[in-house]
C-alpha cells in the first residue's frame, strides 16, 4: 500500500509540474507579452520598460522557475487589472465555487445512484427505461441552455427561485441542477453496470440462498462492491464540474472562481487566468490521487497491479 501510494504520488507530482509548464507558457501564446501589456499605440520605449519591469527580458526558463518558486510559496503573481495578489483573489472566490460544486455533485449522486440501482434490479423494466432516457437526455442537453430554460420557467414565469447572486441557498438550486445534471448519465450508467455485474455473481447467490433479507443483500453485499468504481468516477467528474462551472457561474452571476476566470479572460488578465488553470488542475490531480488511494484501500487487487 505504501509502495503504491508513493508511486502514485510521484506520478501526481510529475503531472503537476507538466501542467505548471503548460499554464506558464500561456503567456507566450499571444506572441510578445510585453507588447500585449503595453497595448495599442505604445512606443517601443514603453514596451522595453514593461519588459524589464515584468522581467520578460530574462531567459524563459529563469522566468518559469521564478514563477514556479513564487507559486510554491503561495504567491501566484499580481493581477494586471485588479492590482492585487492573485492568490488572495482566488482563495476569496474558491469557497463559492466549491459550495456550488458540492451541491451540484450532491444533486447528481442523489439522482443517479438510486436510479442506477433500481435500473439494475429490474433490467429492461419501465424504471430502467426511464433511467436510460434521463441519461441519454442528460448527455445531450447543453448546460447553458438548461440553465436559461430553468431561469425562464422557475425564475421568470413562475417566480419560484431567484435567478442571480448567492444570497441564500435558494440561489444555488438552479445552478446546481444545471451543473450536476451533466454528470448524472455517467454515474448512473456505471452504477447500473456495476450492480448488474455484482448481482449476478456467486456470492450474491450464496447470500440469497442463506435466506438473508433482500434489502441486506442489496445494500450490504451488492452496493458496497458495485460502488467502488463510482468513487473514482465521482472524483473525476467533480474535477470536470469545477472546470465547467465557468459557464454556469457566468449565467447565474455567481461570484466564484469560474466567474473570475471569465472576467479575467475578458480583461486579458493573464496572471489570474494562469493561476486559475493551475489551481484547478492541481486540485484535480489531488482529487484523483486521493480517490486512487481510497480505491486501492477498498479493492486490494488495485494495489498489486
Amino acid at each position: 500500500m505504501v509502495n503504491f501510494a508513493l508511486k502514485r504520488f510521484g506520478v501526481a507530482v510529475l503531472v503537476a509540474l507538466t501542467v505548471s509548464i503548460l499554464s506558464f507558457s500561456m503567456i507566450y501564446l499571444s506572441g510578445d507579452p510585453a507588447v500585449a501589456l503595453a497595448g495599442e499605440g505604445s512606443t517601443s520605449e514603453d514596451v522595453e520598460t514593461i519588459r524589464i519591469y515584468y522581467g520578460f527580458d530574462r531567459p524563459i526558463y529563469v522566468q518559469y522557475f521564478d514563477w514556479l518558486w513564487n507559486a510554491l510559496n503561495g504567491h501566484l503573481g499580481t493581477s494586471n487589472y485588479l492590482r492585487s495578489d492573485v492568490s488572495e483573489v482566488i482563495f476569496e472566490r474558491l469557497p463559492t465555487t466549491m459550495l456550488l460544486g458540492a451541491s451540484a455533485l450532491t444533486f447528481a449522486l442523489v439522482l443517479s445512484i438510486p436510479l442506477g440501482v433500481l435500473a439494475a434490479i429490474r433490467p429492461n423494466s419501465l424504471i430502467d427505461r426511464v433511467a436510460l432516457s434521463i441519461a441519454v437526455v442528460g448527455q445531450a442537453m447543453p448546460s447553458f441552455w438548461l440553465a436559461l430554460t430553468m431561469i425562464l420557467w422557475f425564475g421568470i414565469n413562475w417566480r419560484l427561485l431567484p435567478i442571480t447572486g448567492t444570497d441564500s441557498w435558494l440561489n444555488f438550486i438552479m445552478p446546481s441542477v444545471a451543473l450536476g445534471y451533466y454528470v448524472t448519465p455517467a454515474v448512473m450508467r456505471l452504477t447500473r453496470a456495476g450492480m448488474l455485474e455484482v448481482l449476478s455473481s456467486d456470492y450474491i447467490r450464496t447470500a440469497r440462498a442463506k435466506g438473508l433479507r433482500p434489502m441486506t443483500v442489496l445494500f450490504k453485499h451488492a452496493l458496497r462492491n458495485a460502488i467502488i468504481p463510482v468513487v473514482s468516477l465521482t472524483a473525476v467528474q467533480f474535477g470536470f464540474m469545477l472546470g465547467g462551472s465557468i459557464v454556469i457561474e457566468t449565467i447565474f452571476n455567481i461570484n466564484g472562481l469560474g466567474f473570475l476566470a471569465w472576467e479575467s479572460i475578458q480583461r486579458a488578465d493573464l496572471p489570474v487566468m494562469q493561476a486559475i488553470v493551475l489551481v484547478l488542475s492541481i486540485f484535480y490531480i489531488l482529487l484523483t490521487f486521493f480517490s486512487d488511494l481510497v480505491n486501492a484501500f477498498l479493492d486490494p487487487r488495485i494495489r498489486v497491479a
Binding site: Q139, A140, P142, S281
Partner: protein, 306 residues
C-alpha cells in the same frame, strides 16, 4: 474428431434449417434498434438542413433589417407573425430559420473537423500504447493524465482569447484538447487484439510493425473507433456551443447555435423562443449523434449485447 463433426453432433437439426445468415441478423439488429433509427433519422434531417441551406432557406442569414426585428414564430398569436418568417426574426431582423439552417453547417463542420483532429491524435497515442506497452504505455498514460487534469472549457477559452477567435482556431483548439477518450479506448481495444494468434502469425511472418498495426490491428478495433468518434463529435459540438455562448467561439455575424442563444439571452424575458429554437436544435443534434453512437455500439460489439 474435427470441428465439423462436433458441430453436427451437438447442434439440433431444426435450428440449422432456420439459421439466419449473419447479414440478415445484422439487418435485424439495426432495424430492431429504435434508438439507432431515431438517431440516424434526426441526424439525416439536420444534415440535409445544413447542405441544402442555400436552397431551402427563406432568406439570407446576414440580411439585417431593423424594421422587421423580433417577429415571433408563426405559431405565436401575434399580429406580425407570418409564414414569411416561419421561425420569426432575431434582434437585428435576420430570418431565424435561415440562421438556424446555416448554423447547422457550422455545428457539423466544427464537430466533424475537431473530431478528426482529436481522433488522429488519440488513436495514434492509444494504439501505440496498447501495441508496444511498457515505457510507451507509461508515457502515453502520463500524457493522458496530464491532459485530463487541465479543465477543457477554461483552457479552450483562455487559448482562444489569447490567439484570437475564428472558425479554424476553434476547430484546432477543440481538436487538440479532446483526444483523451480516443486514447483511452483505443489503448484498451489494442491490448485486447495485440495478443491474438493472427497478430502473432503476422509477426512470425516478419511483417513490419506499421503493416501489422494498419492491416491486422486497425480493422479489428475500428468499430470501437467509430463509436468514440460519434460521441466525441457530439462533445465537440457542445463545447463549440459553450465557447460561442461565452463569446469566444464563432464570432458574429456567423450563425452558430451557441452564439444565437447568447445573443438572445438578454431577451429571455419577452422573447424566450429566441433561446428555445436554437436550444432544441442543438439538443436534437447532439442527442441524435449520441443515439447513433450508442446504437452502433450495441449493433457491432457482441460483448455489449444483452
Amino acid at each position: 474428431m474435427d470441428d465439423a463433426s462436433q458441430t453436427q453432433e451437438t447442434a439440433p437439426i431444426e435450428l440449422e434449417l432456420i439459421e439466419p445468415t449473419p447479414g440478415s441478423r445484422l439487418r435485424k439488429r439495426i432495424f430492431g434498434h429504435a434508438g439507432l433509427i431515431v438517431g440516424v433519422t434526426v441526424l439525416g434531417v439536420i444534415f440535409l438542413m445544413a447542405i441544402l441551406a442555400p436552397l431551402i432557406s427563406p432568406g439570407d442569414p446576414f440580411d439585417q433589417q431593423l424594421a422587421r426585428k423580433l417577429i415571433p414564430p408563426v405559431w405565436h398569436d401575434h399580429a406580425k407573425a407570418s409564414w414569411e418568417h416561419p421561425l420569426g426574426t432575431d434582434y437585428l431582423g435576420r430570418d431565424y430559420m435561415t440562421r438556424l439552417f446555416y448554423g447547422a453547417q457550422i455545428s457539423l463542420l466544427i464537430g466533424f473537423a475537431a473530431m478528426l483532429i482529436s481522433g488522429v491524435i488519440g488513436t495514434t497515442l492509444g494504439v501505440m500504447a496498447g501495441y508496444f506497452g511498457g515505457r510507451v504505455d507509461m508515457f502515453v498514460n502520463f500524457v493522458v493524465t496530464t491532459r485530463l487534469s487541465m479543465p477543457v472549457v477554461l483552457v479552450a477559452l483562455a487559448v482562444v482569447s489569447l490567439i484570437g477567435s475564428s472558425l479554424t482556431v476553434v476547430i484546432w483548439v477543440l481538436g487538440l484538447l479532446i483526444w483523451d477518450r480516443f486514447a483511452v479506448v483505443m489503448r484498451s481495444a489494442t491490448q485486447q487484439v495485440r495478443n491474438l494468434d493472427f497478430v502473432a502469425a503476422a509477426q512470425a511472418l516478419g511483417c513490419s510493425t506499421t503493416r501489422i498495426i494498419m492491416s491486422e490491428i486497425m480493422p479489428n478495433i475500428v468499430n470501437h473507433l467509430i463509436v468514440i468518434a460519434t460521441l466525441e463529435m457530439a462533445h465537440a459540438i457542445l463545447l463549440e456551443a459553450a465557447l460561442s455562448f461565452l463569446g469566444l467561439g464563432v464570432q458574429p455575424p456567423e450563425p452558430s447555435w451557441g452564439l444565437m442563444i447568447s445573443e438572445a439571452k438578454g431577451m429571455l424575458f419577452f422573447d424566450p423562443w429566441l433561446i428555445t429554437i436554437p436550444g432544441i436544435a442543438l439538443f436534437a443534434l447532439v442527442l441524435s449523434i449520441n443515439l447513433l453512437g450508442d446504437g452502433m455500439r450495441d449493433v457491432t460489439a457482441p460483448e455489449n449485447r444483452n
